[in-house]
Symmetry: C2
Subunit: 281 residues, 2 copies
Amino acid sequence: VRNTTIGVFDSGFGGLTVLKALLEVIPDAEYLYFGDTARLPYGSKSVETVARYAREAARFLEQQGAELLVIACNTATALALEQIRQAASVKVLGVIEPGAQRASAASQSRKVVVVGTEATISSHAYQKALAAVQIESREKACPLLVPLVEEGWVEHAVTEQVARIYLDEAFCDGFSSADVLLLGCTHYPLLKPILHRVVPENVTLVDSAESVALAALNLMVSGTSNAEPGQLDGVKTLGVRLSDPSHLRFFVTDSVEKFRRLGTRFLGQEIRDITHVDLKE
Amino acid sequence: VRNTTIGVFDSGFGGLTVLKALLEVIPDAEYLYFGDTARLPYGSKSVETVARYAREAARFLEQQGAELLVIACNTATALALEQIRQAASVKVLGVIEPGAQRASAASQSRKVVVVGTEATISSHAYQKALAAVQIESREKACPLLVPLVEEGWVEHAVTEQVARIYLDEAFCDGFSSADVLLLGCTHYPLLKPILHRVVPENVTLVDSAESVALAALNLMVSGTSNAEPGQLDGVKTLGVRLSDPSHLRFFVTDSVEKFRRLGTRFLGQEIRDITHVDLKE
């Protein structure tokens, strides 16, 4: 595990919650983070466009030395995981399958509500992944939650009201008995306190950022990303530590300064080594 | 005026409110609309990135036959108007100067509040344009309003609450006497009913979409975009008519189907002739 170089790819900042989770469970790896900030958000774009951007990013991270790719973007995973795998020569891990497996482990009622961007939800990638583990799901697009997080309103009454509108529409009819809310967007972990307040009391929040980090550890240790729940729980107790920043390198397609400023909020620690890159289409 | 080909450029859908205003005042022109939907929004991107995208779009519209370019995107105007003018061989009109002139004509107190995206506001382009016509301005970034419009919540209680939070912070201290709200974003005309409700009663809403359309007419008729207010008022009474769709051609960098669906809301009429284009960086 030590000194393995892990490439993490996202359309922008949200993937930093995945990097944060990776640093908790695999603190000794080297990390390359690519944020395609000039072309974000992917959540409102078509499958062709997202797939093209994602292939370019994967190629870039491999050129920089990544030995494992983590697609820390739900939209890119939902729309283009197979295309990225075909284009890459290293192992590629997406956020959706690990999230679905964790949701399955957490659900008694076998009914799960999934929230995400318009593109992620329209792809029905979570619905398919959950159906494969015998979970019935209701998918709900929540396009306002990302802008609210980026505005910094993570504990704001307006955000709670918006979340309540979205989730009341989801936890009803056949899904009032759903007992898991699967966060299918890497911005949403910042909204956990609000989301806890607006869902029914017995609902467990499953965070795809945590799930993919644990799947990455499992892949590196055992060669499979299908972790058993007990195994993952053990790993979780490792807890947080601030990582040596020399193990972290960041590449962004838009302003370095803006990434430094906004990114800190998502990663929970200072972001230092940022390089601006231009990807030719 | 008849048969002149006008190229209208925007990062996405918002510029359709400018096209709508243009169709009202110059109904006989031919229109080419370029929406850079694969790379929207520009509002959160850096000046270098926006300038590069805007130059590419301008070049494309000229190649398609545009004889006049209207930059229907506040962010692109704020960040890159001069760069676009240098790259173009036809006349180029931005939204900001016409908006500032209309605001000046409407203001008694000589104090104006400007709202727009983060990038537009950070550029202080409106502040400079308003200072040039002896108007003191307060600029307020309202990053949540575009996502709220795109969610379709144009008459929603949440949107009114968000607008009230933003505008209460603007119409205070030295600016409680401001008597014009300048809409420095082409999405905002759809929020006029809500904005009217949340600003002080005596405040006039000035719409940069309308302003640039009138400036374009003036440029074509008299060779200058500096219209006198009386002249513009006469033009305004021409009113709306549905345009012959054969005079409208649309080019987008992302999904044609999504543009047709969302765009209709902004243009107020059906959108037919849409072509997908790829701009190489």
